[in-house]
C-alpha cells in the first residue's frame, strides 16, 4: 500500500517494520487485537494511517515505554520509540486492564505535477 501511495522503498520497509513490531506487541502482550491500515488522500499530500488496537492489560507507563522501549521477554522490544521517530503523527491511548490503541500517520508531500493531477481528479 505504501509503495502504491508513492512512498519510497525505504519508507515502505520502515512502515512495514513498524507495523510488524506493533502487531507483535499486541500478540505477545494482549493475545489478540485489530489493526486497520488506510490510505489518506489530500490535495497537497497523501499518507497512510495505522490504527492498532487491543483489549489487553494496557501499558502502565506510556512515557517510559515511549522513551526506551520495553526490552522484556527475551529482547522483543515494544517498537514504540522506533515507530514514533518514524511517523509524522503518533498517539498511544492506554488504560490499565482495558487495552491500548496506537494511532500513527505518515505523510508524503505531493510534488507540483501530482498536485495538479490530484486537483484535476477532484474536478
Amino acid at each position: 500500500m505504501a509503495v502504491s501511495l508513492g512512498f519510497s522503498r525505504t519508507d515502505a520497509t520502515l512502515i512495514a517494520t513498524a507495523v510488524s513490531e506493533i502487531v507483535r506487541n499486541i500478540v505477545v502482550h494482549a493475545g489478540q487485537g485489530e489493526i486497520v491500515i488506510r490510505p489518506l488522500e489530500e490535495e497537497t499530500r497523501c499518507g497512510l494511517i495505522v490504527v492498532a488496537q487491543d483489549k489487553g492489560g494496557g501499558i502502565r507507563d506510556v512515557d517510559a515505554a515511549l522513551e526506551h522501549g520495553y526490552a522484556g521477554r527475551g529482547g522483543l522490544g515494544l517498537g514504540l520509540p522506533g515507530a514514533r521517530r518514524l511517523m509524522d503523527e503518533f498517539k498511544v491511548d492506554s488504560q490499565l486492564d482495558q487495552g491500548t490503541t496506537v494511532t500513527m500517520t505518515k505523510w508524503r508531500s505531493r510534488d507540483e505535477l501530482e498536485r495538479l493531477r490530484e486537483r484535476r481528479r477532484r474536478g
Binding site: 522503498r9 525505504t10 515502505a12 520497509t13 520502515l14 512495514a16 517494520t17 513498524a18 510488524s20 513490531e21 507483535r24 522501549g69 527475551g74 529482547g75 522483543l76 522490544g77 517498537g79 522506533g82 515507530a83 521517530r85 518514524l86
Partner: protein
Amino acid sequence: MAVAVVRHGDYLIASIQSDLSDAEVVELRNDLVERAGRDRVRGIVVDVAALEVIDSFVARALRAIAVTARLRGAETIVVGIQPEVAIAMVHFRVDLHPLRTAHDLDEALALLGRAVTGVGDAR
C-alpha cells in the same frame, strides 16, 4: 517450501524464498539447529535476501540459530540483508549481535573457511 536448505561440504546453506510466518521462522530455527548437529556441519549460511522485513522476532530467531548452532560446533553467517531492511533495523534498533554478516555467499564461505582453519591452528 519457504526455505531451501542444502548441504555444501561442511556447510549448510539456507535460502529463504519469501517472507516467513512466525511458525515457519520457528521451524527453520529448529530444523537448522537439528541438522547442524546431525550432519556435523562446521558452518551455516542463512540467505535473507527475500525478506522484506526483519523485525525483532526474526532477529531473535536468527540469533537463536547462531547461538545454538555454535553449541553444536557450527558458526552462522547471515547474508543478503537488503539496504532498506538494514536501514529499518538500525532505526528500530533490531540487533543481530552476535551474529556475523557478509555481503554474499562467497564471502560467507570464505569467512567460514577461515574460522574453521583458525580453530584448527590453535596448537
